[in-house]
Symmetry: none
Subunit: 296 residues, 2 copies
């Protein structure tokens, strides 16, 4: 037998999760794709109460529109989608890997649920269902996703002369702001947070833009260029972003070209400043700490 939940437990949990988002995490944004007015009404009321941004859609929208909404999660009734349901579901899950998808549909067979989950749905709830449970599942989903992908983002990252402050959405060189735009900042944060590792263009793109990169898209390159430009202007003695031909980019501080050596990883472990390694250390195991904190 299970043990009943104490009265205040859920309120606390809700407060906590929205407060936990404080500054760093963008507000949770959820879309509901359904036509069941009763369900929508009840759910929206709940969402309103806990202060989640939400939006109701009555019919399937094109993927790029969906992407532009920058949602955290989508709650969808497959019956709204008609015969294209499976295909649409699959495409959404494939092309918007950062979007949490919760199917919330009337009666369904095991085979249908399995199919939906295999296509990439994150959860499948059968109606009738309690809005509180729907919300709890959505929150869990979002919490897990942000735990795993965006964890190292918060602590300020310091590399050489550069300092990336997640709390200000800015990067500084010797205390002076680089005056980065939103995308530029997101990019430098991502790169610096993965210092040493090579990030593939596709990964960078899907993390910053939220959906999969189409072949031939040069956006990442363009923003890398803009970043390099500002970095060079503010910190001419160092190079930060290194190109890995055919793969992507890697972030590492290096003295600016002594000899016009190729730019691909001429940097060696021996050459690397011990200070840098030390500075990097906390970032590597910070995931445990943060995870423990956020789960608190």
């Amino acid at each position: 037998m299970l043990y009943p939940m104490s009265a205040g437990a859920q309120e606390d949990a809700v407060q906590e999760s929205s407060r936990g988002a404080a500054w760093g995490a963008p507000v949770l944004r959820v879309a509901i794709l359904d036509r069941d007015s009763g369900f929508i009404q009840v759910l929206c009321k709940r969402l309103d109460r806990i202060g989640l941004e939400h939006r109701v859609l009555a019919s399937p929208v094109p993927l790029d529109v969906l992407a532009s909404m920058r949602l955290s999660a989508l709650i969808v009734d497959l019956t709204v989608l008609g015969p294209q349901a499976w295909e649409w579901l699959q495409r959404v899950c494939a092309e918007l890997p950062d979007l949490g998808v919760v199917v919330c549909t009337g009666s369904s067979t095991v085979a249908q649920r399995v199919r939906g989950l295999r296509l990439g749905a994150d959860d499948w709830i059968s109606k009738p269902c309690h809005p509180e449970e729907v919300i709890a599942r959505v929150e869990g989903l979002v919490r897990r996703r942000s735990n795993t992908s965006g964890r190292a983002a918060k602590a300020p990252i310091a590399v050489g002369e550069l300092e990336v402050r997640g709390d200000r959405f800015q990067a500084f060189v010797r205390g002076q702001s680089l005056d980065l735009t939103r995308r530029e900042f997101e990019l430098i944060e991502l790169l610096a947070g993965a210092e040493g590792r090579v990030l593939e263009r596709e990964e960078i793109y899907s993390r910053l833009w939220g959906y999969v990169m189409v072949r031939g898209d040069r956006s990442v390159d363009v923003f890398v260029r803009k970043l390099r430009q500002k970095l060079k202007a503010a910190s001419p003695g160092w190079r930060y972003i290194h190109t890995h031909f055919g793969i992507g980019y890697r972030f590492a501080v290096e003295p600016a070209a002594k000899h016009s050596d190729g730019d691909i990883a001429e940097e060696t472990a021996a050459e690397r400043d011990p200070r840098l390694d030390a500075a990097l250390q906390p970032a590597e195991d910070s995931d445990l700490t943060l995870a423990a904190l956020s789960a608190d």
Copy 2:
């Protein structure tokens, strides 16, 4: 061992960590904490059929033991845990953030489900339930986790002075980068990952290029040459890539030829026999080779 696992997991654990480094997805490992023999039996049968390693626990185990099992996911019936259920669940979720937790319990109230999910459970399924759905949910869970956090999973391969780092797309000799191009890196990663084994040209080609090699294509040879060149420049005292005439290449560290013996395959028939002929076998009917590859 206290808790027997079905597929000889303990021995494999060691193997796996080295094998998993290459490309293979790490094996999914699941534990079931339940006493419902019918449920367990049906579920295990399914798990067996799809080749998932699994292990059944009848009572809660200490967290460190759980951690030592290196599970991908845990399927748990809360009733087994008794009054400590919520606390145990919370601690598991908090302290093992990489472990997927699926609660699978008999009747429950909305409040209980919400509480469980808020404490960190990844999913909550009500019994009776279909094992297929349980598996689909576990798989989805693991898939999502590995998508987001498991990127850095590529463990470095170290052979003698050489170190191949998947996360940097680079190989290092005594800490110094070899400055490899993409294909060169893929090749050395493949070879070093199969250290000691002879890889046929056709296999190398189809793994790197993704399609079958046409007769007369010399690409593999050319890249082997480039690799040898860079390896020799960085690590002149050693030889790494060995030619097997008429077959392919084998990766192994060896001191560079002391006597000016021809550098091509000074070890021939003697060493060749046992493994080689076995390895060569499938080559005769290329159908087999290809089938194996595509299934890989």
